[in-house]
Amino acid sequence: MSDATHPAAHKSPARSLHQLDARTKRRNASERRFKVMGIVAIGIGLAFLVLLLSTIVINGSTAFQQTFIKVPVYLDPAKLDKSGNRDPDDLKKATTFTYAPLVQNGLLEVVQKAGFGSELSKSDMKNLISASAASQVRDRVLADPSLIGKTVDFEIFASSRVDGYLKGRVHRDEIALDKNISVAQLDLVDSLRKDGALHKGFNWTFIFGADASDSRAEQAGIGIAMLGSFYMMLVVLVLALPIGVAASIYLEEFAKKNRFTDLIEVNISNLAAVPSIVFGILGLAAFIQFAHLPQSAPLVGGLVLTLMTLPTIIISTRAALKAVPPSIRDAALGVGASKMQSVFHHVLPLAMPGILTGTIIGLAQALGETAPLLLIGMVGYVATNTPEGFWDGFVSPNSAMPAQIYEWAKRADPAFYERAWGGIIILLIFLLGMNLIAIILRRKFERRW
């Protein structure tokens, strides 16, 4: 063939390399078109990302600020401690109903100092401060009984309407039908602000506090839900990581390839695509109705999320194990290592970055999961206090961050809506943190060969 002369017809006419032929031009044009489309696609994606993040930040950042009113409260010993011996058990008998008038007297003083008072009724003034004021004062007194008999300045939460007025959410011309706030009250707020009795400050309660009832939006915080999420993540990590990694190592390295393991493999892939609410109802039936585990408990939430995360971890771990070159296994077996030694001494360390990345992405997915929690009762106003001790955190009713956000988003008061956005910011910070950890671990464990 090589020495046969080519027919002249097959010879292309001599052409300069400096001149592109039509075919090359077409090919180059199509490549350019494809590149432009890719850039446009990435641009659209980035634009949406910027839109999303800026919306979240704009709507949510106000949740981290809260209006406080400085109220001097005279803690009258005649009312709070009738026996006079400062016995904590006796002090507990004084309920918030005993404290409420004291707070009101203090507020009246503030209002009068600002030059108001006669025009506003007592109930009008009550609307200025949070309904939580009395319990706020009571908690402080129970923690430190020596305060009784003194006049103490308290930073009382302003009500959500007052707070909204300072944040520009509530406008004078829109409040005609609002029975929780009036123009006269807003005038008072303005003059209190001038006096310095009313000011905005950083809202630690939002980050560390518990959720509050519908009428106390200003007191609601995500802290307890954060604890709930933390306990669930502990359960998921402790269960899903060892089970998932062990299952994948067995399937990938030890199990014979037969119809049964094929079936398992297909099922694992399918489980990864099962809607999370299905896992929720499974958890309700299996863990709560059948196993009688406590409702709304992070333990149950963690178990459900473990089931949901396992396929993700198994799939990514198997991919990481597959990516280890077979020559490493041969090398280990060749010097007489057992199968298990070859896996644990050589394959697993090399697969570690992939396994950790998969696990953390699985955890992040579980952290943001809401639907299954709705079914096992981990939603809404369920926990008002931090759990008593570490173990209690697993079984005492609690919520989780995404469920808390969902709960706030459906409540009426716009202050809750603002907190829902704020909650999303905190959730995103956690997710970013977890992804950062994944990246750092991957860098740390990465070995080159």
Binding site: S327, R329, A331, L333, V335, G336, H346
Partner: protein, 265 residues
């Protein structure tokens, strides 16, 4: 090229180390090795030659049961190491592989330090009682693999940072660190340049004083240079097995002659 034969070594090579009788290997439905009978002598380099896919690597991997790791592979027949059947139910392949070491086609050092690469085998087999003994084995193995001089100052450097030829010698050092009796080499020089190849060939010839070496190679010059016995495989059959000189100068089977003269392959 045949004039490049390595210096003759006086080695007593009459004992039979491995005896294979009537060996059949199946990959699923494929009959990969058919009726192979072969006697591999102690302290001898035996070369397996033959065209690609003829089964020489498969047969080599039967000798230390590396084929066990392939699910669909079945081995029938009898392979005796010092008179003991290595496919007996009582044999643990792990113990067998400590006796029958292997060097692979592509250098595959562990992504660990040079020292750890060599020390791994002795460590897992519990051959040493303390660090000093381990150091001794590592040094001796690296010396035997003709690598000691090049790496003695950087034993903690990663083994993967060495050049290709050095990596392959490191793999040989790793294989001989467990003091095996047989060393299997599956095309150990095919990924190396001519200089590294010459070094490894020199090394193989030296190893003959201590071990029985079986080498699979595609290079007939290599087989002629390093081996004393040569087996020619074709389509899963052992066509001819004889003294290397005999195979290359006066083959009895026409297929062998066609292969070594370059007409099939």
């Amino acid at each position: 090229m045949n004039d490049m034969t390595l210096t003759e070594r006086a080695v007593n090579a009459t004992d039979c180390k491995i005896t294979a009788r009537n060996v059949q290997v199946y990959y699923g439905e494929t009959h990969a090795i058919k009726d192979v009978d072969v006697d591999i002598l102690d302290k001898t380099v035996t070369a397996f030659i033959g065209p690609s896919g003829c089964g020489k690597s498969t047969f080599l991997r039967c000798l230390n049961r590396m084929n066990d790791t392939i699910d669909i592979c079945r081995v029938k027949g009898e392979i005796l190491l010092d008179g003991e059947d290595i496919y007996d139910k009582r044999v643990d392949p792990v113990q067998l592989r400590a006796k029958v070491g292997m060097v692979f086609q592509k250098p595959n050092p562990f992504p660990k330090s040079i020292y750890d690469n060599v020390a791994y085998g002795p460590k897992i087999h519990g051959l040493t009682r303390n660090r000093a003994e381990l150091d001794e084995i590592v040094e001796a193995s690296l010396r035997k693999a003709a690598l000691w001089g090049e790496v003695k100052d950087r034993l903690q450097a990663p083994g993967t940072g060495l050049s290709g030829g050095q990596q392959q010698r490191l793999c040989i050092a790793r294989a001989i660190a467990t003091s095996p009796e047989v060393l299997l080499m599956d095309e150990p020089c095919s990924a190396l340049d001519p200089i590294a190849t010459a070094q490894v060939e020199e090394l193989i010839d030296e190893l003959r004083t201590n071990f029985s070496v079986v080498i699979v190679t595609h290079s007939m010059q290599q087989a002629a240079r390093v081996s004393q016995k040569t087996a020619f495989f074709h389509l899963g059959n052992l066509v001819e097995y004889d003294e290397t000189d005999q195979i290359f100068t006066n083959p009895t089977d026409p297929r062998t002659e066609s292969y070594i003269t370059g007409r099939i392959g």
